[in-house]
Symmetry: C2
Subunit: 334 residues, 2 copies
DNA sequence: CTGAAAGCGCTTACAG
DNA sequence: CTGAAAGCGCTTACAG
């Protein structure tokens, strides 16, 4: 089926009885247009079903109207974690409302390919969103010098302070999770943390440590894992080996907590009677598993990230850091 | 940090001592160029670190250099299934080698938003990849009439025959899985299938049914589920209620099989002694769980999908259907 | 094999 | 408030 040539701005202008310039002005919301012209142009757009040509617009405005969604994780982890699902959903929703297009860029953690670098720096996108970050990602950390970038989660390292990002207060949230275990009378509380080269890994562990220190309890039972189901299971196993007398554990993500729960279950250890478990995220599987967890507004974080970038792209003054609220959700596991 | 203006084709031409037209020709691989000119232009490109402006190129060639990756699933399911992770990885790898950009389009199953429709039909992309398909997706099924489209998995419905797609022989593979259970001496074999509005749901069930019919066994123990972990658990539960005497079960995806396994385990039913389980996909978690399964080359499927679309975009004659091989992988569960 | 020139569809000073 | 015109950076008949 041959499609008829798409109507152009010229067609709209002719139909509306104005010049191309005026038509362009109403489309771009410039104020200096008479109500009559504006109405005529809108009518023409509707009847012709006009859609601006993105390439022409990009060329004239010298912008690309594209935003890179950079994922410095292998696809296994990216796709396996409900947290990312929610964040990306939030981002995609907001970007879809705009004229921008989301261009997906996977890259190995801490080692963006030459192609990715060339793409991001070669003028192919107007801005970028980085949804995960490891401390070795020096390129990504410095990316903000070259174009508008918003990070999901505070970037580690020297660039951290200079970056735009949205996050939750992971230290405080880790403290709340741990305090809940303490309040339940648990005294030997371990932790399966995230990777210690990621802010969410480091900070949640710091919160756990601080809460224990505040009551004079030891914080020597920490095993770092990798935010995956399997990693959580392994971490729990190692923790049990090192500290068979545990009666509580804070696991830094729900996905890992699910892994931990399966280990506990397979060993006949009762939850929460023998060991109470608190997770992090409040992702859908957590609800099903009856997991007590710290809720973070993942989807809203995604929306906020996208909103900030859109603001930067519009040239608005944007608050550098947005910290959203978390909330302890008590269910069966602790 | 102010970035210096990017070099343009004009700059390259001047540096190489040729016209813009000639420079353009070598960049686009046109044959009618002298070796001298070609060498000079390449040298200029290298020293200037020239990268063509995508918008200008798009405008002149009247193509967008963008490909839509359409995902008619909610993000939960898309992100939760390792199968998608692999397929998308394959797609992303191949597209990254090209000049095309992948633009992500989520849409509700069977109900693409007006925005998505407008985007896909509004000349914003040169082609599309649809990675999941439900029978209600009439819009997507007909999308191929408007622009080049390749489907991951045979589209259901009248458009099926007219579409480009890559798939495995799900009927045959379902048969192999079931035959393996029969060969192991199982006689009461149930199935947890995928949704019956999806080809992979229907076809794998058909293979199971045929294999049972071939030996005169009943095929009345089928529960359709939704390709999720939870769905698999629910399906297994229902299957056990309906047929407590089962000694084998074919589960249409590894993710669902994992859910089934957890139900079995929690009821003290031994696998494979009491009930043998065969999954589908051979995704990473299957390996860890010791799941016997049917391997499908998910990543290669993604690469093939992308390769076909690129071929179509180049105007090449492309084989409409590519069916890749599957393989039974025997581990502990059956 | 090569260049001058037109054209892709927009935006935006500039002048009025 | 509005239009004529230049320009964004490429590609591609056309003529040679």
């Amino acid at each position: 089926v041959e499609r008829t040539a798409a109507p152009t701005l010229e067609d709209v202008a002719v139909a509306a009885g104005v010049s191309r310039a005026t038509a362009s002005r109403v489309i771009n919301g410039s104020r200096r247009v008479s109500p009559d012209a504006e109405a005529a142009v809108h009518a023409a757009i509707d009847t012709l079903r006009y859609v601006p040509n993105r390439a022409a617009r990009s060329l004239a405005k010298r912008t690309t109207m594209a935003i890179a969604l950079v994922v410095p994780e292998n696809t296994e982890r990216f796709f396996g974690d409900p947290y990312f699902a929610q964040v990306v959903q939030g981002i995609a929703d907001v970007i879809a409302e705009s004229d921008y297009v989301l261009s997906l860029q996977f890259s190995a953690p801490s080692a963006p390919s030459a192609k990715t670098v060339r793409y991001l720096l070669g003028g192919n996108v107007d801005g970028a969103i980085v949804v995960s970050h490891h401390s070795g990602d020096h390129f990504l950390a410095g990316l903000g010098d070259a174009l508008p970038v918003v990070f999901g989660g505070r970037p580690l390292g020297e660039h951290g302070d200079a970056s735009y990002y949205v996050d939750v207060d992971n230290v405080a949230a880790g403290g709340v999770a741990t305090q809940h275990l303490l309040d339940a009378g648990r005294t030997r509380i371990g932790m399966v943390s995230g990777p210690l080269d990621m802010p969410a890994g480091v900070d949640r562990a710091a919160g756990w440590r601080a809460a224990l220190a505040a009551v004079g309890a030891a914080s020597d039972a920490l095993v770092p894992a990798d935010f995956t189901l399997t990693g959580g299971a392994r971490g729990m196993t190692e923790l049990l080996e090192r500290r068979p007398d545990l009666d509580g554990v804070f696991v830094a993500s729900d996905l890992m907590a699910l892994g931990a729960l399966s280990v506990l279950r397979s060993r006949g250890i009762r939850v929460p009677e023998d060991i109470a478990v608190v997770g992090f995220d409040d992702s859908p599987p957590a609800l099903e598993a009856g997991l007590t967890t710290v809720r973070q507004p993942s989807r809203e974080m995604g929306e906020t990230i996208a909103g900030m970038l859109l603001g930067l792209l519009r040239g608005e003054a944007v608050q550098k850091v947005r910290v959203l609220d978390t909330e302890l959700v008590v269910r069966d596991s602790a």
